[in-house]
Symmetry: C2
Subunit: 270 residues, 2 copies
């Protein structure tokens, strides 16, 4: 890992083409070749490149510049460094530690599969998750008492576009029905007829919902069903923070009103 702060220009060429005019940025070069360039604000890097195949590093004495070129199979990232303010090479370490993640749509989907009839109605029973419609996979597949398939798309926050995702799944299974494409049944546990896809029920299920989504649902024959947030509580891990904060002495603390700037740079030496 290499940590650089440099006064530099950056050019990227590949899927697109970008030019970043001269200025001071922070550059990370990881041991796997990944290059990440950050400006002074924002979460996302202004430039970056992964899958680097080779590096070339020049000293352009004529222009008094240090040049770093990273190449991947189809891309090139060029840094013209007019001055290297910091250039720190850190020992390589490998980090195979666990990263646990909660509150994902996957967990929401799993929770709903275990709370199916409670959420979607007693006339409706769960069949499977990740049902392949032939045109993308639907989060949940169920069947109602009329023998119609129930296609459910799960979102943490539903937007209008999602309504069309469900419509698309409906189109796909109806086409499987009219085309007598029996292979779509192979993935389904149990013994079902293709006719369950003649008139599928379409459901969009979500925790939060954007304005206008219910109207969009209604005008396209899609049911909207709120899921609540209960699913989040089922798998919250122990918080590491609480057990450490006790007995700790505060070194520095800021609030919204204070000058944030002064905290992170060396302009304010205490």
């Amino acid at each position: 890992m290499r940590m650089i702060q440099a006064d530099c220009e950056v050019e990227y060429d590949g899927r697109g083409h970008t030019n970043l005019a001269r200025g001071i940025r922070v550059i990370l070069i990881k041991d796997d070749g990944t290059v990440i360039i950050h400006r002074t604000t924002g979460v996302k890097p202004v430039n970056y490149m992964g899958s680097v195949i080779d590096f070339t590093e020049y000293d352009d004495t004529d222009n008094n510049a240090h040049i770093i070129i990273a190449r991947s199979k189809k891309e090139t990232l060029t840094l013209i460094c007019h001055s290297m303010i910091v250039d720190l090479r850190l020992p390589s370490v490998n980090d195979d530690s666990d990263f646990d993640q909660n509150g994902t749509e996957r967990q929401q989907q799993e929770w709903l599969s275990r709370n199916f009839s409670e959420t979607f109605g007693d006339d409706c029973s769960f069949i499977m998750r990740e049902f392949n419609t032939g045109d993308g996979s639907c989060d949940l597949l169920g069947i109602d008492d009329n023998g119609n398939a129930v296609l459910i798309e799960v979102k943490r926050k539903a937007v209008k576009k999602d309504v069309y995702q469900v419509i698309r799944y409906g189109d796909a299974v109806r086409r499987a029905f009219t085309d007598r494409k029996h292979s779509i049944l192979d993935q389904i546990p149990g013994d079902y007829s293709l006719s369950i896809f003649a008139h599928p029920r379409l459901i969009l299920a979500s925790e939060k919902i954007n304005k206008g989504v219910e109207v969009e649902c209604h005008s396209h024959g899609v049911e909207f069903i709120p899921t609540g947030s209960q699913w989040r509580n089922d798998s919250v891990p122990a918080e590491i923070a609480r057990k450490n904060v006790n007995n700790a002495s505060i070194i520095r603390e800021t609030s919204e009103s204070s000058d944030k700037q002064s905290l992170f740079n060396d302009d304010d030496d205490e």
Copy 2:
């Protein structure tokens, strides 16, 4: 800007919840409060947080740990640092330099507006860009010789989902027609009747196309039109690299076969 390398645990709580077990990572804390935590590989940070309102920093002497807590309105990021290997506070700089980007859909859209009939046919003339359908804005609006609106969605790479984006725009303008919603015409230069939206032509235009998209188009009455890549050539900026690489002396150079690892850390002192 603060650049840290630390042996740390990380917990995030907010929209989701994550726990990262102990290990060595690089942490950037920007002057705007943004925190970015990188592992040893990959482009994306393992943890991050923007819109930070306040920081709290502890020394937990009991556990011999340094604790940094960043809070935004609805989120908390906690770092338990068991050792601070590097903790560099860099002077704040402001960087208002230009960042030019090319090869965007926006440019493709603009190019198509200037090459409209060549691309979409002589029976078809351009009206405007970014036409608000009432349910999302369509990239290009034109009109054909039959007096029907032509709704065009532009993509660099078309996928099946995009077909439904166009369908949705078609739904919206037809609804405007049946509902006699004349206000949709306000944004259109020139004098048109609502009836142009009775039977809109729907077009998906793209440079690249995924398998199955044309079939999806055909089965939903959407036309697919390839745009080519000509639009990319209209706005390629001068390459800054070429003019600098001449007369430069190579310091170090790697190729695919060499040991990349050795380039970026200090295991190989030359």
